[in-house]
Subunit: 349 residues, 2 copies
């Protein structure tokens, strides 16, 4: 679908490992004072000046986490950064630096890596992130990307997963399920394309879903918004594996229960219409779809007035005593025990 | 060679991703005050308390960086940590934390990962390192390990690559070339084994070489030694790609030249005898072999008396003006321009 057969192909061997890193990273500018030394030595040197340091890492593997037949490399680079920044924001922190390690087989020409790094560069520019290091090597098969993100945060601002309290409100940002449906649409179009390579699909009805899958945004804005609203969540996590899985993480680690209200789960109109078309239950998609990269957090009830008018935030439930369990309260007012059926990277193979 | 056909095999699917991480990391104890929060949240939280933070990352890929037919998984885990710590020590810093991301195909049972983590655990214990996070996922083919190491250092202690000065002495720790020869021996035995699986090789004549290849040690001791000797190198790098390649890095980045004396290059007796057996030139092996994980540094001439009696340190050359180039001075007193023919990960496929 996205392959351009006439593209220029420069072999990676022509550059060598060090030439390659230099070539790919030459346009990246250091933007933070905390980055004392970036790419180019044995290690990067950072100066957090009394702030706490946040460290998180994620691995993306071709054939497991992405399919290059519909994922443009530029988008992949952008998304790989988002996945990592999202974890820094989920601690209520400010993302500052990343390292990027890639392994590629020789079927990738230099131009492909340039595209990938264009996406990484765009993400770094948009989110004000310094690229400070990494590793580039060959792989025996596909492409893999390992990113470590570094953030900074004041001690008193850190929000963990394990500190939700009974009576807290459960809040989610944005809307859920779109990324998963975007993937379903792309998978379907891939199959159509395999049968008929000349098909010109009209994907406008799914534009939001596809954008959420191919170019998700990490919620840097929410960290700022919460600060502006003077709300410090009691617990927070990002939604990468699906809403149920993340609620269960917060509840298990905080030793609390939760009531989640089905009717409150925020869904985009495209999610609702596409669920109908695909004959999927939109609640299931929101609960188990994953890759939303929204933030899920709990707040004290007294903070409710500060957030209630905000279009980015939806109260979807409340925390209860551990003995009451973690439940979905359906539209028919039935309580169903919530189970994690989210996307599990280990079950994909 | 190392496979035990009767081993217990527990499928990774039985544990799931989160169960797996918990299972593999349960024996790791946090040892540093700077680790505020390790494994278990969206990101780890570190407190460097005014110290500078060092960050470095390396990717090891099956079939490119290691061959499991002679690399026991426990050793692989240990070595993967060493490769990263070595970069922190090469900045003159103290390694404190690591994140470990792994991707595995389903051909690896849980017991294999336990072995891998045993080696990681041993490395963490021996070098006083906290495991603070990571990612575990499936791969479509083999095993890959991506480690990020974090260190701390006082501002005034940082040693970069690009600060060597003419007349500085070039110093190397330990001895060179053994790891490369260890690999040659193991490759030969693998071929023998493929022809005759009942062969019982006697490898005692190569014990040092094999240990250097399978279980290298990062030179944490040298960082302490230099501090005790009150020597701050003017530039430093670790030897992962081979002596020539690393000398060229220092010289290019420092805009200086260098004379390296062939007769001064430290070689273990097993390196000399095995080079004879394999009909290899020991200087070439030391220059281009790689994976030694020794430290290469430059010091002011005035510091020479402090290091000259030390058995861990060998002066192998001196820095000259850039216009004089980077040269090997042979035993026959000929000058040969040094080129990097070290191990290049991108040329391996």
């Amino acid at each position: 679908m996205i392959e351009d057969k006439n593209q220029t192909r420069t072999s990676l061997k022509e550059l060598g490992e060090f030439g390659l890193i230099k070539h790919l990273t030459q346009n990246f500018k250091i933007q933070h004072k905390s980055t004392v030394k970036g790419v180019g030595d044995d290690a990067a040197v950072l100066d957090m000046k009394g702030m706490k340091t946040l460290i998180t890492t994620d691995l993306l593997i071709e054939g497991v986490h992405f399919d290059l037949s519909y994922m443009p490399l530029k988008h992949l680079g952008y998304k790989a950064v988002m996945v990592n920044l999202s974890d820094v924001y989920a601690m209520n922190g400010n993302a500052r630096q990343i390292t990027v390690s890639i392994a590629v087989s020789n079927r990738f020409p230099l131009e492909a890596l340039e595209e990938l790094y264009e996406g990484i560069h765009l993400a770094c520019k948009t989110y004000t992130i310094d690229l400070i290091g990494g590793d580039t090597t060959s792989s025996t098969t596909g492409l893999l990307i390992s990113i470590t993100a570094i953030g900074e945060i004041k001690k008193e601002d850190v929000v963990y997963r394990n500190t939700a309290k009974p009576n807290d409100l459960l809040v989610v940002t944005g809307d859920l399920g779109a990324s998963y449906l975007g993937l379903q649409v792309l998978e379907r179009e891939k199959q159509v394309f395999e049968v008929n390579p000349d098909s010109q699909p009209d994907l406008t009805a799914y534009s939001y879903l596809i954008e959420r899958q191919l170019k998700p945004e990490a919620r840097k804005d929410i960290v700022k918004l919460l600060k502006d609203l003077e709300v410090k969540p009691t617990a927070m996590i990002d939604i990468s594996d699906g809403l149920s899985s993340e609620i269960l993480h917060i509840c298990t680690q905080s030793k609390v229960g939760c009531n989640l209200y089905e009717e409150k789960i925020p869904l985009d109109p495209q999610v609702i219409s596409t669920c109908e078309e695909f004959d999927l239950n939109s609640t299931t998609v929101a609960l188990s779809g994953g890759e939303d990269y929204e933030l899920l957090f709990t707040i004290s009830q007294e903070d409710f007035p500060k957030i209630k008018a905000n279009p980015h935030l939806t109260v979807i439930g409340h925390i209860v005593d551990e003995s009451l369990g973690v439940n979905l309260v359906t539209r028919a007012n039935q309580q169903i025990k919530l189970t994690a059926q989210g996307w599990n990277a280990l079950e994909n193979k």
